[in-house]
C-alpha cells in the first residue's frame, strides 16, 4: 500500500468522482489542471497499490480424512 491509508476502492471511487467532475456542471477551466494532476496522482497510486498486493495463503491444519 502507498503512503496514504486509503484503500484501492476508496481511491478508485475518488478517481471516478474526479473524472465525473470533468463532465459535470461544476466544471471550471481554472480548476481543470489541478483536478487533472490529482487524477494522474491517484491513478499512479492505484497502479502501485495493485502491483504490491500479495495474497495470504494459509493451509487449513485440520485433517478431513475421517469424521473428527
Amino acid at each position: 500500500m502507498s503512503s496514504t491509508n486509503k484503500s484501492i476502492q476508496e481511491k478508485t471511487a475518488e478517481l471516478n468522482k474526479l473524472v465525473e467532475w470533468f463532465d459535470s456542471e461544476d466544471f471550471k477551466l481554472e480548476q481543470a489542471l489541478d483536478n487533472y494532476k490529482q487524477a494522474e496522482k491517484l491513478a499512479s497510486e492505484i497502479e502501485k497499490d495493485l502491483l504490491s498486493l500479495k495474497n495470504e495463503i494459509q493451509i487449513v491444519k485440520q485433517k478431513f480424512d475421517s469424521e473428527s
Binding site: 484501492i8 476502492q9 478508485t12 478517481l15 471516478n16 473524472v19 470533468f22 463532465d23 466544471f27 477551466l29 481543470a32 489542471l33 487533472y36 487524477a39 494522474e40 491513478a43 492505484i46 497502479e47 495493485l50 502491483l51 504490491s52 498486493l53 500479495k54 495474497n55 495470504e56 495463503i57 494459509q58 493451509i59 487449513v60 485440520q62 478431513f64 480424512d65 469424521e67 473428527s68
Partner: protein, 367 residues
C-alpha cells in the same frame, strides 16, 4: 499304534462365527466387479441386489444411506464389501461402497442422478448466487499436490492480491474424496468469519477419476452451502453434477481463478485510459471556450458597427435638414431677403442670390 486326530465339533452358530472370522482374516475387504441384478430397496432402508458375471452370482446387502449413486439392474459396478456368511447359511457381501464401473455405467448413473436432481431444482438458474466482484476472503478445496491447484494459485496471484485464501487439502478422487470434500464444505460453513466464496477445484482426469464429483451427498452439500460456491473440475469438456449445482461453474481450475478475481493489469489499463481520456476532453473544453469568446467578440463588433451606422444615418438626416434651412440655399431658389423698416418712404435693403439692392418703400398694403 495309529494316532487319532481329534476333529472339533462345532455348533452351527459357532461354525458360522468361525467361517466369518476366517473370512474376515483372509478378506477384511474385497472389491468385486460385476453386473447388478434384482436390485431392490426394502422399507426405504435396506438395499438388496445380486452382483453377477457369466460364471456366478453373489447376493449383496447395504444400507440405503451408503448408496451414493443411482444403481439399477444391468449396470456394471465395483463393490467394496465384507464377505459374510449369514445366520441362515447364505453367503453374501455386506457392501460398504458401490460405484459404477466402465464408461457406460458411469454415464448411466450420471444421467439418472442428473435427472433426479434436476427434477428437485438443484440446477435451477434462480438458485444461483452471484460471487463478489473482488472477494477479500476465499476458501479453496483442492489437493494441494495437484497441478490443477498449482495452476489456480499461480493465476490467482498473477491476477490479483490482498486476498485471504484458506486452503483445505483433500483427496479429489477415489471413494474417500466426496466425504472429505463434504467435511470441508461443512467446516468452512461453520467458521465464525465466513469466507465469501468456496472454490472447489480439480484438474483433468478419466471419467472414473472425476466421478467423485458426481456423488449425490457431495452435490447436495454444494447445493446446501450457505457460502456461494465456484466449482472448476476437469477440462473444458467435462461437466460434473457438482459443476451443475455450483453457483458458478468454471471450465478448469485456471478458469476458476480467472472468474474469482479481476485482472489487476486490466484495472491498471482501465484507470490509465480513464485519466488519459481527460486531456482531450479538457482541450475540447478550452476550444469550446475559445470559440465562445470569439463568437461574443463578433457579436460585440457587429453591435458597435450597427450603432455607428445608425448614428451616421441620423447625422446625415440632420445635415439635410440644416442644408434646407441655409438662407443662401433659399436665395438660390429665387427668393430675396429684405432688411430695414417696412414703412412708406423708408429705405430698405433687398438681397438676392446675386445682388444687394437699396430701395424706397412706396406703399405698404396689409394682407
Amino acid at each position: 499304534m495309529e494316532k487319532t486326530q481329534i476333529k472339533p465339533i462345532f455348533s452351527v452358530s459357532d461354525f458360522i462365527a468361525v467361517v466369518n472370522q476366517t473370512l474376515e482374516y483372509a478378506y477384511p475387504t474385497v472389491e468385486v466387479e460385476g453386473e447388478v441384478a434384482s436390485f431392490k430397496v426394502n422399507q426405504g432402508k435396506y438395499v438388496f441386489f445380486d452382483i453377477k458375471d457369466a460364471g456366478g452370482s453373489i447376493g449383496c446387502f447395504m444400507s440405503v444411506w451408503q448408496l451414493r449413486v443411482p444403481i439399477e439392474d444391468g449396470m456394471k459396478v465395483i463393490v467394496s464389501a465384507v464377505p459374510k456368511l449369514t445366520q441362515w447359511g447364505k453367503f453374501s457381501l455386506t457392501v460398504k461402497t458401490i460405484r459404477p464401473s466402465g464408461e457406460g455405467a458411469l454415464k448411466k448413473s450420471f444421467e439418472l442422478l442428473k435427472s433426479k436432481l434436476e427434477t428437485e431444482g438443484l440446477f435451477a438458474p434462480e438458485r444461483k448466487r452471484r460471487l463478489p466482484i473482488v472477494p477479500q476472503h476465499v476458501a479453496v478445496i483442492a489437493s494441494t499436490q495437484s497441478a490443477g491447484y498449482a495452476d489456480f494459485i499461480k493465476i490467482l496471484n498473477d491476477r490479483f492480491g490482498g486476498l485471504r485464501v484458506d486452503v483445505a487439502h483433500v483427496q479429489v478422487q477415489g471413494t474417500d474424496a466426496p466425504d472429505q470434500i463434504i467435511r470441508v464444505i461443512n467446516y468452512f460453513n461453520q467458521q465464525e468469519s465466513l469466507p465469501e466464496v468456496i472454490v472447489i477445484i480439480r484438474g483433468g482426469g478419466s471419467a472414473d477419476d472425476l466421478s467423485a464429483f458426481n456423488d449425490e451427498p457431495l452435490v447436495r452439500a454444494i447445493a446446501g452451502s450457505r457460502i456461494p460456491t465456484l466449482v472448476g473440475v476437469g477440462h473444458e469438456i467435462d461437466t460434473s453434477l457438482s459443476d451443475l449445482t455450483a453457483d458458478v461453474s468454471a471450465a478448469t481450475p485456471s478458469n476458476a481463478a480467472q472468474i474469482l478475481v479481476p485482472d489487476r493489469m486490466e484495472i491498471i489499463r482501465a484507470v490509465r485510459a480513464q485519466v488519459i481520456s481527460l486531456l482531450p476532453r479538457v482541450l475540447q473544453l478550452i476550444d469550446g471556450q475559445r470559440q465562445s469568446v470569439k463568437d461574443m467578440m463578433i457579436n460585440v463588433i457587429d453591435a458597435v458597427e450597427r450603432a455607428a451606422d445608425e448614428q451616421m444615418r441620423r447625422l446625415l438626416s440632420l445635415r439635410n435638414v440644416l442644408t434646407q434651412l441655409d438662407p443662401n440655399v433659399v436665395l438660390a431658389r429665387g427668393y430675396a431677403l429684405i432688411r430695414g423698416n417696412v414703412k412708406v418712404g423708408a429705405t430698405i435693403e433687398i438681397e438676392t442670390n446675386k445682388v444687394i439692392l437699396e430701395a424706397e418703400v412706396k406703399n405698404v398694403i396689409n394682407k
